[in-house]
């Protein structure tokens, strides 16, 4: 039995301990905002926060999560959109949108460690997240926008 918190609520999991967090979130808890893109920690679509830091949920087995706090896109803000989501909308980042929740989670993680990231910081942090529609230039702009807003 694995005990963890997801978006603030206590959960207990007694399924296959090897099940990746991604499928627990999506298929069992129904938090489908976290996406499946590769299953191999190659694309970032499945990014969530573990104790505030970005991780790839597709490659994090449940057995590693005892006592951890997981935040998904559904849990990043209790009242209205998060500053990063607002910046995303202001810059009109999404095309198909499928990668964007993972991108947003990664950006939140970046901004929490580096509130004023440089271009190089952004490249470093965000290059693990693929956007097949090619919205990278807007993602960079939105991160800067969010950084400004938080300042």
């Amino acid at each position: 039995m694995v005990h963890l918190k997801v978006n603030g609520s206590a959960q207990a999991f007694d399924g296959d301990p090897d099940m990746p967090l991604l499928w627990y979130l999506r298929d069992i808890l129904g938090f489908t905002g976290t996406k499946f893109g590769c299953g191999m920690a190659l694309c970032g679509a499945c990014t969530v926060l573990e104790n505030g830091k970005a991780i790839r949920s597709c490659s994090t087995p449940m057995k590693q999560l005892e006592g951890r706090e997981i935040t998904t896109i559904e849990g990043i803000s209790t009242h209205g959109p998060h500053a990063v989501q607002r910046a995303w909308a202001a810059v009109n980042v999404p095309q198909c949108g499928y990668c964007q929740t993972g991108q947003i989670m990664q950006a939140i993680s970046l901004l929490s460690s580096k509130p004023h990231p440089t271009d190089a910081d952004i490249d470093d942090e965000m290059s693990g997240n693929i956007c097949r529609c090619g919205t990278y230039q807007r993602i960079r702009a939105a991160i800067k926008e969010a950084a400004k807003e938080r300042a």
């Binding site: 399924g15 296959d16 099940m19 990746p20 499928w23 999506r26 298929d27 069992i28 129904g30 938090f31 489908t32 905002g33 976290t34 996406k35 499946f36 893109g37 590769c38 299953g39 191999m40 190659l42 694309c43 679509a45 998904t72 896109i73 559904e74 959109p81 989501q85 995303w88 909308a89 009109n92 980042v93 999404p94 095309q95 198909c96 949108g97 499928y98 990668c99 964007q100 929740t101 947003i104 952004i122 490249d123 470093d124 965000m126 290059s127 693990g128 997240n129 693929i130 956007c131 097949r132 529609c133 090619g134 919205t135 990278y136 230039q137 807007r138 993602i139 960079r140």
Partner: protein, 761 residues
């Protein structure tokens, strides 16, 4: 399918207020107009003569598609019948109606249309959406506006001429200073006869409030909130999950299967064999063995535990290096003539300097961010499918065919697509879900892993091209011969097809936009060994790569600046015979002056010539017209000693005629440069003994933030020409512009894609 461009279908607007629609989305007293395809309308109208279609058609016998409803509270509902996959159709199409309606955009609600042939074509391919529906959508909005104005005039007892839809969402009578809202008018408007087309007054472009004005995506907030919008997110009560072990080689069959380890796994329910297809494969499932489980992970794990012996069939002979040689060999031999201008043979025989080159571009996979996925629920004779699909009517058709049902019994709910790029117009995965739902008696969600997606795609074709030109003493071509060879898309529908279709030839090959007096295009035979499909801009990718690279080679051979030379090749600009069907040629003449204009815009913005190329820095230019849109790309590169390529800037200029939403056009072209970067840098799918070698993003890499262009500038030409495609045309010129830039920077010519095969990273 790739067909020749066509002008739009015939539609008529009908008042259908008295029918109930859209499962309660519209209230009973809403005013509802629909648009229906004229032939269907005539059919529904029975003996009503064509041309005199009357709005009093028996609505109970006629279930039309709806585009527009106005609720008594003033909410305007508009159905988006095309698929949203990042192309912005859920924003652009409704805004065209809202503009002519003079509706307040903040009070417009967009509803996604199910699959239904009454919408006309819903196949969201070939960058058709705005271009084909522009006039129809405007007429729909204008029809509703006129009916609202007439309703107001009637209510007030004043002449219609004194009423106008002004400022927005209301009709006003200036003389008496009265206004009345659309919602209040809905009931009375619904009673007005539908005006004839001739009575409508469409706005002039200067009056447009939304068309041509930038607007963010309608769904941007929901998307960023992670709402369950995508096919991957669909959850239905009692749903089971399936993963399928597909035959590793196309056409392979299961010889034997041992599922004992699979069935022991927690969460796994059963395994189900899926029949192999009967050739041609078309949109049929590939066959194999499905593992049914109560969650996706268990289904994947169960599949890994299957022990299957395959009978691989005839396509085990497919080995990419050998196949490449065959294609190249074929490209060196005379092929089937596609188009001839002047007398190229005579011109070549006159001698002069001969320049020739061969180009090669490998298979590509779509790799849309959301892998194929579908949920199907078969209940007796009725099937409901939820699927990210570019082709909902195709889903209905294929599922019906496979299960032996009527097409009308299959409902296809279109979800958002996490990217499509052409892959999701093939409904094989939805058919798989339907087959499994029928067998289990439960709703089933089929989830393709990334490995399934890459290994079992409908691949973009591999192609070999050969071009030769005889040039005069100024280096200008007097004769030009070009040959392309690739396994055609038609092989998916006709197993014996070996030549490119007219459609594929029209994608950048039958003619070139250059003033060359003697010209011939040819096409050689190639047999397919994998499923071939269409990928964002299709054959334009390799054709533009060859033609625009060759033009650049000619420039250097003539010792001229590549941009000046390109303008000289295009000439002064005029309408050329591009072998378009007559109605298309009339509406969209191929005017090389427009190509010249975008080349100038892009080069000027890039400040072409500001710095001398070489020493690892360079700019490249390419132009291409596809999907009726004219595009120029200028790419700037920096290449270091190790061959690492950085792309600091891309300058794109686009002439797509009237643009519905410039913001969406800009994103599409920014994205196209990134898509092109993936193709150029690392895009390559290969096969060994019929098995695809790549499987996930580690061996089929796509562009990431740190290797994508840093800044993509998009200039949109203001135009009054009819709207043309925007989703695809950004891709073809980008790849040769990049390769030309690399040549400028390094002196190394890339004739075979991807760059990774040429010592660049």
């Amino acid at each position: 399918m790739i067909t020749l461009e066509k002008a739009s279908e015939d539609f008529a607007v009908v008042n259908v207020t008295r029918r109930s629609f859209l499962q309660g989305a519209l209230s009973a007293s809403a005013f509802v107009l629909c648009v229906a395809k004229a032939p269907l309308l005539a059919k529904a109208a029975g003996n009503v003569a064509p041309g005199s279609v009357s709005p009093s058609i028996d609505a109970t016998a006629f279930h039309p598609s709806i585009f527009l409803g106005i609720q008594p509270d003033g909410t305007v509902l508009i159905v988006a019948h095309r698929t949203e996959m990042g192309n912005g159709v859920r924003t652009s199409l409704p805004r065209i109606i809202a503009d002519e309606l003079d509706a307040d955009w903040s009070r417009v609600k967009v509803i996604q249309g199910d699959g239904d042939e009454r919408y006309g074509s819903q196949d969201t391919d070939g960058s058709h959406s705005v271009r084909e529906f522009f006039d129809t959508l405007r007429e729909t909005g204008a029809t509703a506006r006129l009916m609202l104005v007439r309703a107001a005039a009637q209510q007030w007892g004043v002449p219609e001429a004194q009423c106008e839809a002004d400022p927005v969402h209301v009709v006003s009578h200036k003389a008496s200073n009265r206004t009345i809202g659309y919602g209040e008018l809905a009931a009375l408007a619904a009673k007005q006869p539908v005006p004839k087309k001739e009575e409508l007054k469409l706005k002039s472009p200067s009056e447009w409030r939304y068309i041509g004005k930038p607007a963010p995506g309608y769904d941007v907030t929901d998307v960023c909130a992670g709402k369950p919008l995508f096919g991957m997110d669909v959850r239905v009560d009692g749903m089971l999950y399936a993963a399928i072990a597909h035959p590793p080689v196309l056409g392979g069959k299961v010889k034997s299967v041992d599922d004992s380890a699979t069935l022991k796994l927690k969460g796994v329910k059963q395994t189900i064999p899926i029949d192999p297809f009967t050739p041609p494969h078309h949109f049929q499932p590939l066959g194999g063995v499905a593992v049914i489980a109560d969650n996706t992970w268990s289904a994947f794990k169960g599949r890994d535990a299957l022990k299957i012996e395959w009978d691989n069939g005839a396509h085990v002979v497919y080995n990419s290096p050998d196949y490449k040689k065959q294609l190249q060999e074929t490209a060196r031999q005379p092929g089937k003539v596609v188009h001839t201008i002047g007398d190229p043979d005579a011109a070549f025989s006159k001698g002069g300097k001969l320049i020739e080159a061969e180009y090669y571009a490998p298979h590509l996979a779509h790799a849309s961010m959301e892998p194929p996925v579908a949920v199907a629920d078969v209940q007796g004779e009725k099937v409901t499918v939820w699927s990210p699909t570019q082709n909902p009517q195709g889903v209905q058709e294929e599922v019906a065919k496979k299960l032996g049902l009527k097409k009308e019994n299959v409902t296809c709910h279109v979800t958002f697509l996490g990217g499509g790029f052409g892959r999701k117009s093939k409904p094989d995965y939805a058919v798989e879900a339907a087959v499994l739902s029928k067998t289990t008696g439960k709703p089933v969600k089929v989830v393709w892993s990334r490995e399934d997606d890459i290994k079992f795609d409908y691949f973009h074709s591999v192609a070999a091209m050969y071009i030769k030109a005889a040039v005069d003493d100024k280096g200008m071509p007097k004769a030009w011969l070009q040959r392309s060879v690739f396994p055609p898309i038609s092989s998916t529908f006709d197993k014996d097809a070996v030549y490119g279709s007219d459609g594929e030839m029209s994608l950048g090959w039958n003619v070139i936009p250059f003033d060359v007096p003697n010209f011939r295009s040819e096409n050689g035979k190639a047999v397919n060994h994998v499923r071939i499909g269409w990928l964002r801009s299709v054959a334009n990718i390799y054709h533009a790569f060859a033609v625009q690279s060759f033009a650049n080679e000619l420039a250097y051979a003539a010792n001229r600046d590549p941009y000046d030379y390109l303008l000289a090749l295009i000439g002064s600009g005029h309408v050329i015979d591009a072998k378009q069907p007559p109605d298309v040629a009339a509406k969209y003449p191929y005017d090389t002056a427009r190509l010249r204009h975008v080349a100038r815009l892009a080069a000027d913005k890039a400040n072409w010539g500001r710095k001398k190329s070489g020493n690892g820095w360079g700019m490249g230019i390419a132009v291409h017209r596809s999907f009726l849109t004219y595009v120029a790309s200028v790419v700037e590169v920096e290449v270091d000693q190790s061959g690492a390529v950085r792309i600091p800037n891309v300058y794109t200029a686009v002439d797509a005629g009237i643009v519905a939403n410039p913001e969406m056009v800009r994103s599409q072209f920014e994205g196209a440069a990134v898509f092109g970067t993936s193709i150029a840098r690392t895009g390559e799918i290969t096969a060994t003994n019929g098995v695809i070698d790549q499987s996930n993003f580690h061996n089929y890499p796509v562009a990431r933030m740190n290797d994508a262009p840093v800044q993509v500038d998009v200039q949109i030409v203001e135009s009054s020409a009819p709207p043309a495609g925007v989703g695809e045309p950004g891709v073809p010129p980008f790849v040769p512009a990049l390769c030309n830039a690399i040549y400028a920077a390094t002196g190394k010519r890339v004739r075979e894609l991807p760059l990774a095969r040429n010592g660049f990273a």
